[in-house]
Each structure stands twice: as C-alpha cells, then as structure tokens.
C-alpha cells in the first residue's frame, strides 16, 4: 500500500472517524515522522485530539461523561466513545445515530452469563473537572450496575410485551427467572 503523501510503501496506518466519516490515513515512515505520527505514538492522534488540556474551558454547559471526562463535542469530532459509561452519558440522540448505522437499536445477540458475578470498578479519572452546570445524567442502563436489577428487567419485559417483541419478552422472562429461582409463582 502506498503512502498518501508520497509514493513510498506505507507502514503507518491510522483509521479515524472524523465528522462521521471513516478516514484511513496511510503513511510511509518518513511522512509519518514529518507529521509527528510515529510508531511509538500510534495513539498520538487520539491523544492530541483528546488530552484534557485541549478541552476548552468555556464548555461548562457541555455534556461530559462523568466517568472518563469525554465530552459531547469530542464524540462528535471522532465518532467514538471515551469509555463504556459514555453510552449512558451521551444517550440523547444515540438511538437516531444507531438507527442509521444498524439493523435495530436493541441488542438481541449473545449475553454474558457471568455479568452479575463481577463488581464494577471504575478508575477515578478527571473527576476533579468542575462541571457545576452539567449534572451527570442518570444512566439509562448503567453498564456498571453489578447485579441485573430485577425490577428493571420487569419493566423491560412489560415494554417488550406492550410492543409485541415476544422474542425479547421470552428472553427477559427467562432472565428474570434465572435471577429469582424461588420467586416463581
């Protein structure tokens, strides 16, 4: 594969989503060094984009992921999330985005069977950032919730039945039953 800048063989490859467009940059060694993208900093572009010091101080109104400090405008810029919790923080408008990308907006595939067995342990990072005006939105479905909440599963089940998604309903039902073997009526 050729370098995007000159005709040499490319050895450094970077894929990024910029403004929703997937962009692949292929560079030869010389050009990558000239552009400040060396092998050692394969993450260089992301870090340059995202390091806290580059965040504008005035953006206090902006939605920020409480867990990792990722901002909505960063998400817009690179099209990727900062951490798993970001999906809860940026859930507004997510459905629309996902609908354009996928067959549906709900996961129907494999589920980890051990999910309840492990405790969350979010690393403290950038919690110090003062975000007075942007209260962290309550996560819609916090991935960090340790045991699956039966009440919530019940609510999901109700919704699934109401919306006639019977496959989901059946799955949720067995999920609830597996959590409460003694609660069977």
């Amino acid at each position: 594969m050729k370098c995007d800048v000159c005709e040499n063989e490319a050895t450094v490859f970077l894929t990024q989503i910029i403004n929703g467009q997937m962009t692949t940059v292929n560079l030869c060694e010389t050009c990558s060094k000239a552009k400040g993208v060396t092998e050692e900093t394969g993450f260089g572009l992301a870090e340059a984009f995202l390091s806290p010091s580059h965040r504008t101080e005035s953006d206090t109104m902006e939605i920020v992921c409480d867990a990792c400090g990722f901002t909505a405008s960063q998400l817009k810029k690179i099209g990727r999330m900062g951490c798993p919790e970001c999906y809860a923080a940026f859930r507004d408008g997510l459905d629309g985005l996902l609908r354009n990308m996928h067959k549906g907006t709900r996961h129907v595939g494999k589920r980890p069977s051990h999910i309840s067995a492990v405790a969350p342990q979010m690393l403290p990072r950038q919690r110090s950032a003062p975000l007075k005006d942007a209260p962290p939105p309550p996560p819609v479905a916090p991935p960090a919730a340790p045991p699956p909440d039966v009440a919530k599963l019940r609510a999901e089940l109700d919704l699934a039945v109401k919306e006639e998604r019977y496959e989901d309903a059946a799955r949720l039902k067995s999920e609830i039953e597996s959590l409460q073997p003694k609660a069977s009526k």
Binding site: F13, T15, E40, G109, K110, S113
Partner: protein
C-alpha cells in the same frame, strides 16, 4: 510460551487446510470486540491505564485453555518487521500493529485464534478458518469469549449489548468476513454488479489489497456492517448465504471461461506461469495478479501438479515483511522485487506448469481429479 520464529516457521492451520469451497473462498474470519468495565477505551486512555489493563488482562488471556502454550508478545518487544509479518498473516490489524506501549497480541499454537489487547477496543478476539466456514470460526471465538467473560468484568449493557469504542461495533461486537478469490468474475466483467448487489443488502465489499476499486490478485473481502439488532447466528447465516451465491456465480463464470475461451484462458495462465517461473524482478502488484491466474489454472486443472496451498503460501510469503523477515534485514523496494522473484522461481520449480496439460485432451475429465498424464 512459543517463540516468534517457531510461530512463523509453521504455516497456520488455515493455510494448509482445505475448507468448504476453498477453490473460491480462501478464509473465513470472525472477530469479537470486547471491553472491560472501569477502563476508558484504548483511544481515550492514558498510557499508564493501557499498561495497567494489559498487565491485568494478558496473563488471563494467556491462560485460556485455547491459548495455552501459544505465542504472546508485548508490542514494545516486537520489531516493526515482525509486527508487519503478523499483519500479513492476518493475525493482527494494521491499526494495532502501528501501536506500541500497552499493546500485546496472544496467538494460539495453530494460528487460528488471535487476541489483540488494546486495539481500538480492549480485546479483539479473532478466529480464522479455511474456506467458507464462518460458523466454525464463530464457534471458536464464542468459546474463548465465554471463558474470558467468566474471568474479567465485561462492559455490557442489556439494551445496547457489548459496549465498544466505536458505535459501529455496538451490540454483538462481531465482524464476520470472508476472503474470496474471484478471477473469473473479474475476467468476465461481472464483478461490479455483484459488488453492487452485495452492498445493497448491507454487507461491505472491498479489495483485499489495493486502493478503492482496484483489487490486486482478484482477492475480495466481504463482511457485515451491522452489529446491533441481529443475533450472531443470523448475521453469519446471512453472509454465508450471500457467499454461497457469489461462489456459484464464480464457479459458473469459470466453467464458461473454460468452455468458451479456453485458448485465451490457457494463454493467460501460461504467461502467468512463465513470468513467475523465470522473472528476476517482480513487483508485489504483478506477483499478486499472476499468482491469481495461476491459482485459477490450478483450480481448473490447467496446470499440472500444482497444489493450491503452494500458491496460497506464496501469496503470503511474497509480501514485504515476510520477505524482509526471510532476509533477516530491511530491504529496499528494489531488493524486495528481486527477492520476491527469487522466491517465486524456487517455489514453482516443483510444479509442471501449464505445458504439461495436453492440449489435445478432450474435456471429458472435468474438474474432478488433478491427475497428471505423463
């Protein structure tokens, strides 16, 4: 654990083995994107966080039953050429190979499973099988994934599925892809409508090598684009069904070429063999395209005593990093072209070439057995 040299010395399981439709389908690959709770995604993490995750996860990955006694390497320990060899073997992605600190890869002994740590996601679990066999590739990664999930806290959301750095991987986190050799569809100029039709049903098609529409070596990769809203077996069944159709078109096109244009076909294959067998300078592009013709010739029994796996190995070995690894030093492009030709000439000594195919033989044998009338 296994050493790099040992890993690379042996052809991977999927290089030797023949799978379903392996005249047209070279490999089937399935990869799962997985992340841990409590850590930012690699693209938004600090180096120390990536290293911390690596130090926690790598020993766990190495001890998985499938991966035990395999190959495991921290990227800070790997030269650029070695990383590139892993890329050329489809064991790691180019993006991953471009990284260093905080990254590692673990490969099983048979080179059919590889787990990249701190790629775009914390884990990329990949399974690769010969021929059209996505279901079997999925079965392998599914098993590894289930083991890993019992040992490490995955980031999973009941509604959104496996949480991934890029929303395009959300849900199953699964990308299933098939590498196809489609020389007859290209020669008969049917490839573009086929690509268009596949694109319309939500699958991505791209040339394996080369930019844009150019597909060097007539090699194409087809993969799913949607990961949310469909279960893994559905996605796989859909792709396999589509691929079966592409395989049928290719096989029909090959038969028609042999029937209606035998002289042209034999000429092309004969020229390909002659150049590969006697040239002293071969660019990568030329070699890929000629090897593609030779592979077609072998599949149509137009080349005597030519095993398909010999060509498939060559397709790997003529790539830049493999050549440089073989030479044990960095090579200039000119040196590579000359070493590529040396390697090709040597490897093709053992096959008889198209000359041994008696032109007078009536076409009653069909493509059944590669018998060699001498």
């Amino acid at each position: 654990m296994m050493r790099f040299a040992t890993l690379i010395k042996n052809p991977a399981d999927w290089m030797k083995g023949a799978g379903p439709h392996s005249d047209v389908v070279m490999t089937s690959r399935v990869r799962l994107a997985r992340n841990l709770r409590g850590y930012p995604f690699p693209g938004f993490s600090q180096e120390r966080q990536r290293i911390e995750l690596l130090e926690r996860a790598r020993p766990v990955v190495e001890e998985l039953p499938e991966m035990r006694d395999g190959y495991s390497e921290d990227y800070t320990e790997l030269s650029k050429i070695r990383k590139q060899v892993l890329v050329e073997r489809h064991l790691v992605s180019r993006e991953h190979a471009a990284r260093s600190s905080g990254c590692a890869v673990v490969v099983d002994r048979k080179q059919s499973i590889s787990i990249m740590i701190n790629e775009e996601d914390h884990f990329r679990i990949q399974g690769i099988r010969p021929g059209l066999n996505l279901a079997s590739a999925f079965e392998v990664v599914d098993r590894v994934d289930t083991e890993l999930e019992s040992l490490l806290p995955y980031a999973f959301d009941p509604k959104l599925g496996y949480l991934t750095a890029c929303p395009t991987n959300l849900g199953t986190g699964m990308r299933a892809s098939v590498m196809l050799h489609l020389p007859a569809l290209v020669l008969t100029e049917q490839i573009n409508p086929v690509i268009k039709a596949i694109g319309k049903i939500g699958l991505a098609v791209r040339g394996l090598y080369g930019e844009g529409t150019e597909a060097l070596g007539n090699l194409f990769q087809i993969s799913n684009q949607h990961t949310l809203g469909e279960a893994e077996p559905e996605i796989i069944a859909q792709i396999e069904k589509v691929i079966e159709g592409v395989v049928r078109s290719e096989v029909t096109a090959r038969a028609k070429l042999k029937e209606d244009h035998q002289t042209m076909l034999q000429d092309q294959i004969g020229r390909a063999f002659a150049i590969l067998r006697y040239a002293h300078i071969l660019t990568s592009k030329e070699a890929l395209n000629l090897l593609s013709m030779l592979r077609l010739g072998a599949d149509l029994d137009l080349v005597g005593n030519c095993d398909r796996s010999l060509i498939d190995m060559l397709l790997l070995e003529i790539q830049p990093a493999h050549l440089q690894l073989n030479a044990a030093r960095e090579l200039s492009p000119e040196e590579r072209d000359s070493m590529r030709a040396d390697l090709t000439r040597t490897r093709l000594q053992s096959i008889d070439g198209p000359g041994s195919f008696p032109p007078s033989q009536s076409n009653n044998g069909g493509p059944a057995s590669p018998t060699n009338d001498e």
